[in-house]
């Protein structure tokens, strides 16, 4: 597997800020990986997202040490606009990325800027509108629709460009639970079918965990923990201590492990958890009869 992102001894301090927003970060991401980044607010997650698509250091003043390579090249060595073809970022505040007067223009804007042909733009527009269920909103101004709808537009605009690397900063915080799950299903499909590399920053872990190959915990500007998803959550006590709340089913199975009632992997889906719990209880209940 080839590395698409290499972060090496990376430190970033915003100008006028006494402490670094990120300090001595080391992380390598391979093509086709799905990475979940979690951590309390203020831990440096969004700064990391900005550092991956060149907003930092391009648009912010600050002091940098170490470096970040995307597709083998230093972030700074890309000409303006070139890096953004490879790395698409969906911001946590959807309004931050709107520039046009209709949802349709918003979705087309990025593709036009990439110089795509009109038939191809049309084809992708249909695909992304279907995928994110936006067809009734196409002619509305993006600032007039609901919070959840804005978030779907922001996501669709980036999906339409199909960047090989996608960084999503709390992409579903305003969505209802089933719309949220559907967005994650879209991401899973992109990873499966097109080998996109996907990095998701999230507070709500229930949908993220089943899809993530690897998890990263940022805390007070440091990378505190990193690992394959199931192994990562074996550090349950550390995560709880740092104020994170892992999915309920994992917490429950962690309890079973502590009690010596279970010794396998922590389940990541409800189906898996139900199956394991059923098989744990069956012998016990037969014994009772």
């Amino acid at each position: 597997m080839s590395a698409v992102i290499e972060i090496k001894d990376y430190t970033w301090r915003y100008l006028y800020s006494p402490n670094p927003a990120l300090e001595n970060i080391n992380l390598t991401v391979h093509q086709g990986e799905f990475i979940g980044i979690i951590g309390p607010n203020g831990s440096g997650k969004t700064t990391l997202a900005y550092s991956l698509n060149g907003l930092i250091p391009g648009q912010y003043h600050g002091i940098k040490q170490g470096g970040i390579k995307v597709l083998g090249k230093d972030v700074e060595s890309y000409p303006t606009g070139a890096l953004q073809k490879s790395v698409g970022v969906v911001f946590s505040d959807p309004e931050a990325q709107f520039t046009t007067m209709t949802v349709e223009d918003e979705l087309v804007f990025g593709m036009e800027n990439l110089g795509m042909s009109i038939p191809e733009i049309r084809e992708r527009l249909e695909w992304v509108v279907e995928l994110t269920d936006l067809s009734p909103l196409m002619l509305k101004p993006p600032y007039e629709i609901s919070g959840g709808q804005k978030q779907r537009v922001a996501l669709a605009a980036v999906l339409a460009m199909r960047p090989p690397i996608m960084v999503l900063d709390e992409p579903t915080s305003m969505l209802d639970p089933i719309s949220r799950r559907r967005i994650f299903e879209v991401l899973a499909k992109l990873k499966r079918e097109q080998r996109n590399t996907i990095i998701v920053i999230e507070h709500s872990l229930e949908n993220l965990v089943p899809l993530a190959d690897r998890m990263v915990l940022l805390h007070n500007s440091h990378l505190l923990l990193e690992g394959e998803t199931r192994q990562f959550f074996e550090q349950m006590d550390l995560l709880l201590e740092k104020g994170l709340f892992p999915p309920g089913i994992m917490q429950f199975f962690h309890y079973l492990k502590q009690q010596g009632r279970y010794d396998g992997y922590l389940p990541v889906t409800v189906a898996e958890a139900a199956e394991k719990l059923t098989s744990l209880l069956e012998p016990a209940q037969e014994g009772k009869q």
């Binding site: 309390p40 719309s179 507070h203 917490q251 069956e282």
Partner: protein, 277 residues
């Protein structure tokens, strides 16, 4: 029996463009209740809230708050009884100091400056906003504090019911619990009825006593949280699914778990019960 604080009877609301947003809503809310409104994006939660505080007048039916029908009562009288805290505090904060922000409501209903002062101090005290912040610009405070200023500005009107629209969006797990614990305190210690609009089902499971599920302009379910979450087929109509721990309990009902299980702690307690020999 005393009559409920809010009575909603056959409420219908159409947007100016004719779209039917709420269709025959019937609901009562008592003083001191803690309720969450859930439902998919666009299900009418926010519109319904705006009908409750008189910002929207019903197209049909009635909203009666503390004996006042919203159709005939001036909005000034309505907002004194039902306060609405915006999803994004930045949409409601517009003064250049926290003091002016909190004083805006009381001044707007033309209270004497003496009483304005008393109410600002009281509201700031309830939300835990230190006096040292009074002269600060609200925009330079972190979001958690901005939200407290937003809530204080509503509290200063001394409403009996406070509607809080998605208070935990964009907050991390710890901050979400702090905000919710604070709302519980307002409810339990100060007696305000609290209505929370949210998509965060683990938060609903942990904090709500009563859940109202809205979908396509109707009330699909209204009852104690455990009971509403026991009917995933109804919730799915409005794009809601219960938290994973509840789903796990529902899938293992045959093993003896309750379909209304809401938290990991409840799940563990049942497991201990089931495996006791």
């Amino acid at each position: 029996m005393t009559s409920p604080f809010i009575e909603v009877k056959h409420l219908v609301y159409r947007y100016p463009d004719g779209t039917l947003a709420l269709d025959d809503i019937n609901l009562t809310i008592d003083e001191g209740e803690m309720i969450t409104f859930i439902g998919q994006n666009g299900s009418g939660k926010t519109t319904f809230s705006k009908c409750l505080n008189g910002l929207f007048k019903p197209t049909g039916g009635d909203v009666i708050v503390d004996g006042h029908n919203s159709k005939t009562t001036p909005i000034v009288e309505m907002v004194r009884r039902v306060g609405y805290v915006f999803q994004n505090p930045d949409h409601q904060l517009f003064n250049s100091t926290c003091w002016d922000e909190i004083a805006y409501g009381p001044r707007n209903i033309q209270l004497a400056e003496e009483e304005v002062k008393e109410r600002v101090e009281e509201a700031a005290h309830v939300v835990g906003l230190d006096k040292s912040y009074f002269k600060e610009h609200p925009f330079f405070l972190p979001k958690g504090l901005r939200q407290r200023v937003a809530i204080a500005s509503i509290l200063a009107l001394r409403p009996r019911v406070i509607i809080v629209d998605e208070p935990t969006t964009g907050q991390d797990a710890q901050q979400s619990r702090e905000i919710m614990d604070f709302l519980v305190e307002l409810n339990e210690e100060h007696g305000h009825a609290i209505i929370i609009i949210t998509h965060d089902m683990p938060i609903v499971a942990r904090y709500a006593k009563r859940v109202v599920a809205l979908g396509r302009g109707h009330i699909l379910a209204d009852g104690p949280t455990a009971e509403v979450f026991s009917h995933p087929e109804i919730l799915a109509q409005t794009f809601i699914e219960p938290p994973q721990i509840t789903q796990l309990a529902q899938r293992t009902q045959d093993q003896g778990f309750s379909p209304g299980t809401l938290t990991v702690e409840e799940m563990i307690a049942q497991y201990q019960q089931l495996t006791r020999t």
